[in-house]
């Protein structure tokens, strides 16, 4: 089996964006990309698929409220960007995405023609 999704297509030029943690699972029918986008509401997520490049952007909800003084900080206040190049054709029409508890799941069904076929031995 070859990995369907490779490293980002090109080095990211945008300095102020964070590459989210992500994981890919899949079988011959579909791939599932799970991207951690903590602090990003559903309305802040955008997904694009163009020229076999899947681009996921996550915009965090408004930062620290006015009047709050930060005493300790580990959570970066950066928005997220992830680009993945797909090396298997996927069925764009039936692409599905769900955001739940700060995790985006993108379901990418592999195009029928690209699925492996079992050949019956006569």
């Amino acid at each position: 089996m070859t990995t369907t999704l490779e490293k980002p297509a090109r080095a990211e030029a945008d300095e102020n964006l964070l590459k989210p943690l992500y994981r890919i699972n899949g079988n011959e029918h579909a791939y599932e990309v799970r991207v951690e986008l903590p602090g990003v509401p559903k309305s802040g997520v955008s997904i694009d698929l163009e020229d076999n490049i899947l681009t996921i952007r996550g915009k965090r909800a408004a930062g620290v409220p006015d009047g709050w003084k930060t005493l300790h900080s580990e959570i970066p206040a950066l928005d997220f960007l992830l680009r993945l190049r797909l090396n298997t054709p996927v069925d764009e029409e039936s692409l599905k995405a769900v955001v739940e508890n700060g995790v985006l799941s993108v379901h990418l069904p592999v195009k029928e023609a690209a699925r492996p076929r079992r050949i019956e031995i006569q």
Binding site: E15, K69, T70, S73
Partner: protein, 143 residues
């Protein structure tokens, strides 16, 4: 499995990525990350990133807990130690995996333990710790 060449200059050049490296040292090695992923959910560390803020009425402790459901989360206060523990369950086809996340932070003196509240939204837990009356800044009237 296809082997791609590892190019560190692409991955370790930026501060943001370095920060990410601290959180997930295998992120720069996609292949290894994926191999490990077969055995353990390696894509988030067990120690969630935490911010602490204050305003005049409260302290606020924020924890990054993506993928954690409210029912799998426990927040406790014990002897000025705020403990957050969570279990993240994940389904990959028939396989199920889980990851335990926990973090303890010490709470400043003068917190009203009875009034502590917590809210989980978009993978971020915010614990609000109200300051006791005598810890709040007082405005002194000028006569």
């Amino acid at each position: 499995m296809k082997i791609t060449r590892f190019n560190p200059s692409l991955n370790l050049g930026r501060v943001a990525d370095f920060d990410q490296w601290l959180r997930n040292p295998f992120a720069a090695f996609p292949l290894m990350g994926q191999l490990l992923g077969d055995f353990a959910p390696a894509f988030t560390s067990g120690r969630p990133a935490t911010d602490v803020h204050e305003d005049k009425d409260n302290y606020y402790a924020c924890f990054e807990l993506p993928g954690v459901k409210k029912e799998d989360l426990k927040v406790e206060i014990h002897d000025r130690l705020l403990n957050v523990s969570a279990e993240r369950k994940e389904k990959n086809g028939e396989q199920e995996s889980s990851l335990t996340l926990c973090r303890s932070i010490s709470v400043p003196e003068g917190v009203n333990a009875e009034g502590i509240s917590a809210r989980l939204e978009d993978g971020i837990l915010v614990v609000t710790l109200p300051k006791q009356e005598h810890r709040k800044p007082k405005l002194i009237e000028i006569a």
